[in-house]
């Protein structure tokens, strides 16, 4: 029976209260461990299409009569357009239409960050559109930008009205009770998503609605966002994304380019593509915001934490949200006295967007690096220190965990941790080696609503139909495994159809590590519904009781072994009839905190003369409940760690402090990791189903692997050299600064020479 509930929904660590209709999840979880199909490694179902260059991405669409768009964006971080004339652009060959400030809400002459859209032109070719944008006559009054996050906090320029203050226990008393107090300021930089496919959409008006082909992580968010932006009923917007070239959190909503294309399509009566260039992508497509973290840890001499305190400044940019940088400090350890204050500084810089575990990547770097400074001061083993402060319940939220296997992660990390003696021993006079670790905590439970349909044809093959998206995480493959396992048919007999809001029910966003834990249970429920119907038909056909029948390996079988007939033989009787199953995601466990956990151990080498840092090896152990596809899961872990290495060592959006202009707009200037930067990566998953969470017990894995990487590397550097790196990226300058500081500290500590 459908049940109406009021519940909390979590995405990327942000909660909202929502009404939900949930259908009770009647299915028991499968026992722990690999099954015939679920839990086995499978290559991705659409791997060949992608590898062979057959997959059509939004970037590849060529609709009849399609026009191309170029956008005039503000070159200044803060400026007013004093005059603009689109006529010279309209006069150029191939140009069909031009729009400017206030023609749509997404175009403005009041520029508050570099890259803000001012005007746009569409033309027969992209080259013509670009030439036309260059021809637009525009004058700016350039204004002084606000770029310094601390200054913004002083002035009260915040994205939220008030800073976010969270306190439990008595922080001051906790500090007074401490035998040792460590404090430090940490800084993290702006990093850019740089998905290989830039943000883009192709829009065309069809009758009284629009079709939006878009590179997105959230088909339904596009449908709803475009509908509300254009004043259309939601079902007059069809959002389509069959293949997309990466998002990492930056493609959750329709943005200026979508509305620019929609307006130009309306004016021209043509399909219009608006695609960001790589340079626009590096300016105006979102970013992981910079942070400043002023942290304090108090502990007893045995390592028991008595106080954790932090002032966090998220340099959010002009808009966006102030992410949970304080989250790890609030949630990771069993400390009774915690006080955090988080400011979201509003600056004349491009808006942040979610980027793979926003806030927690940054917050884990500060917290876990300072924890190792504490360990060093107390002369305690860092792993032992973490073990001693393990949280058995969530003190921040006062709810029990639905499941937590962090201790098991620590246990499995021990052999990697033990390597530190051997690794350190390989140090030379100039190249120092060491090992560091860091823990991970994050969300990833997913939630309702999410729906799936399954149709089983007369050939006994099944198609999963749901309007979700596969952004490269391998979700289609995982859904095929779940459907095949539940239906009892071979993996190869399942097709998964996604990517179109007109062709399937509502499906989850692919963000917040939520696709598998949201969609998987719905797909399993749909498969179970179809299987029940097939067994009912088989029982009537073979004059047997339903309870003695099952489907295994594509065969309808009876428990006495007398019946074994292909599903296709049974359903073939029905000719073009189809068995239709439907399934809905059940609710999350009431009163429980659903989280993911893990630990990473990094091995590094530091050249103390040049400041160069190499990461040699990272071992990652994560706890995300039941694993559906170990092959795809290992790819996710490797990808997260490699992005984490980029974040730690090489990536940084640079801004000219004088003008506020962005200096790193190309992939030449912005240093992404290459294949030559990749260390040995060893990954392991605890693979223990969360007994309280859905019919699968699976959580998400997209974000957890990037969270502890920076801290583990920083701690390995400290192990190798004694230097405390405090700022990301750990460039050679930062490394040499930390080495000099460590040397000075050592000199001060040494007994005076007589």
């Amino acid at each position: 029976m459908a049940r109406l509930i009021r519940t909390e929904k979590e995405v990327e660590g942000r909660y909202e209260e929502v009404w939900l209709v949930v259908e009770e999840d009647a299915l028991e979880q499968w026992p722990a461990g690999a099954r015939e199909i679920v839990g086995q490694p499978h290559v991705r179902v659409d791997g060949a299409q992608r590898a062979r260059g057959e997959a059509i991405y939004t970037a590849d669409l060529q609709l009849n009569g399609m026009l191309h768009t170029a956008v005039l964006r503000s070159p200044h971080p803060r400026a007013k357009v004093t005059r603009i004339d689109l006529a010279p652009a309209l006069a150029l060959p191939g140009v069909h239409a031009a729009i400017g400030p206030n023609d749509i809400p997404q175009l403005t002459g009041d520029c508050t960050f570099q890259g803000q859209a001012i005007a746009a032109v569409c033309a027969d070719s992209l080259a013509q559109a670009r030439a036309a944008v260059r021809a637009i006559d525009v004058d700016f009054e350039v204004l002084e930008p606000l770029l310094d996050p601390d200054e913004a906090v002083r002035r009260g320029e915040l994205v939220d009205e008030e800073p976010r203050v969270k306190e439990r226990g008595d922080y001051e008393r906790g500090l007074a009770e401490a035998d040792v107090v460590v404090e430090a300021e940490f800084r993290t930089q702006v990093v850019l998503h740089n998905s290989m496919e830039t943000h883009q959409a192709v829009v065309q008006w069809v009758a009284d609605g629009v079709e939006v082909h878009i590179s997105t992580q959230y088909i339904w968010g596009i449908r709803d966002g475009v509908a509300s932006g254009l004043g259309l009923p939601p079902d007059k917007v069809r959002a389509i994304c069959h293949y997309m070239g990466g998002g990492f959190g930056s493609k959750n909503s329709p943005d200026d380019y979508t509305f620019i294309a929609a307006e130009l399509a309306k004016r021209t009566g043509r399909a219009v593509k608006c695609a960001l260039t790589r340079r626009e992508e590096n300016t105006a497509a979102g970013n992981r915001n910079a942070t400043i973290q002023r942290l304090t840890i108090g502990a007893r001499s045995d390592g028991t934490l008595t106080a954790l305190g932090g002032e966090f400044v998220n340099a959010v940019g002009w808009s966006g949200w102030s992410s949970g940088t304080e989250g790890p400090m609030q949630m990771l350890y069993a400390c009774p006295n915690v006080k955090t204050t988080t400011y979201g500084a509003k600056l004349n810089l491009p808006p942040m967007k979610a980027f793979r575990a926003p806030g927690f990547v940054e917050g884990t770097f500060g917290l876990e690096a300072l924890l190792d400074e504490l360990a060093s001061k107390l002369d305690l083993d860092p792993l032992e220190l973490r073990w001693r402060n393990h949280a058995d319940t969530d003190l921040a939220d006062e709810r029990p965990y639905s499941s937590k296997n962090l201790i098991e992660c620590y246990r499995r990390a021990e052999p990697h941790w033990e390597r530190r003696h051997e690794v350190r021993a390989r140090s030379t006079d100039t190249v120092k080696r060491g090992v560091g670790m860091a823990s991970q905590i994050w969300y990833g439970g997913g939630g309702p609503p999410s729906y799936a349909w399954i149709r089983v044809g007369s050939d006994g093959r099944a198609t999963v139909v749901t309007a979700m998206q596969d952004i490269g995480t391998g979700t289609k493959t995982a859904m095929a495994q779940i459907a095949a396992e539940e239906l009892g048919i071979p993996f190869e007999h399942v097709t998964v159809t996604v990517g179109d809001s007109d062709r399937g029910p509502f499906a989850s966003i692919s963000a917040g590590s939520s696709t598998t834990p949201s969609m998987g249970p719905a797909v399993r429920a749909a498969a179970a519904d179809a299987k029940r119907q097939i067994i009912e038909i088989a029982a009537q056909r073979h004059h047997l009781e339903e309870r003695v029948l099952d489907i295994r390996g594509g065969q309808v079988v009876s428990s006495d072994g007398n019946l074994s007939a292909p599903v296709g033989d049974l359903l073939g009787l029905l000719e073009n009839a189809q068995i239709l199953g439907k399934g809905a995601r059940g609710p999350n466990p009431t009163g429980m905190q659903v989280l993911t956990f893990g630990v990473q151990v990094a091995e590094v080498a530091v050249d103390i003369e040049t400041g160069e840092v190499w990461v040699d090896r990272i071992a990652a152990i994560h706890d995300v409940g039941r694993v559906i596809n170990p092959l795809g899961a290992s790819s996710q872990i490797e990808g997260g760690i490699i992005q984490g290495i980029g974040h730690t060592l090489s990536e940084e959006r640079l801004v000219d402090p004088k003008t506020g202009r962005i200096l790193t707009t190309s992939l030449d200037a912005y240093k992404l990791p290459t294949i030559a930067d990749v260390p040995e990566i060893v990954s392991e998953l605890v693979d223990e189903p969360d007994a309280h969470l859905t019919n699968l017990g699976s959580k998400g894995l997209g974000e957890p692997p990037i969270i502890p990487t920076a801290a583990a590397i920083a701690n390995a550097i400290r192990d190798a050299t004694g230097a405390d790196v405090r700022s990301l990226p750990i460039s050679r300058e930062e490394m040499l600064r930390a080495l000099r500081e460590a040397e000075a500290k050592e000199r001060r500590a040494a007994p005076a020479r007589v």
Binding site: G47, A48, A51, G53, R278, G472, P673
Partner: protein, 143 residues
């Protein structure tokens, strides 16, 4: 006239048309991707007379008379299946360019060392970070 994957085409690009644009827009060979458009990422890699070439910064008139091989011409190459088998792709947008570079490598060096793989593939960026498995796919392409 250019020869693409064994077929002769008479391409009429405007002055300034790149090889990538001609392949994608005139010949509808969209397996070749444009991800940066300025020769920094390798997604547009094709073979010109067997040599890996960044088609987004190669003007189409400069390959007049040359033999161009794109991912569409390499679909039956065992490297494609090796990438799929090793799970050497996630979003897949850089993958055709990766495979073209990998094919050029093993054409010259059928059993490349790790160092040779890393050297040859360092110009092909993958933001999803499929690198460990790309390395594995190239190491095991004849299996």
């Amino acid at each position: 006239m250019i020869n693409v994957n064994g077929h002769e085409y008479d391409v009429h690009g405007e002055v300034g048309t790149t090889l990538a644009e001609a392949l994608r827009e005139e010949l509808s060979l969209t397996g070749t991707k444009i991800a940066c458009g300025e020769g920094h990422c390798g997604a547009c890699t094709v073979l010109v007379d067997g040599v890996p070439t960044l088609s987004c910064i190669t003007l189409v008139h400069t390959v007049d008379g040359a033999e161009v091989t794109t991912i569409e011409g390499l679909r039956e190459h065992p490297m494609v299946q090796s990438f799929v088998r090793a799970d050497a792709l996630q979003c897949g947008f850089c993958t055709p360019g990766q495979i073209v570079s990998a094919v050029a490598l093993v054409d010259a060096t059928p059993a490349p060392s790790t160092e040779e793989i890393r050297h040859a593939m360092a110009g092909n960026l993958c933001r999803c970070g499929a690198y460990p498995k790309i390395e594995e796919a190239i190491r095991t392409w004849r299996d």
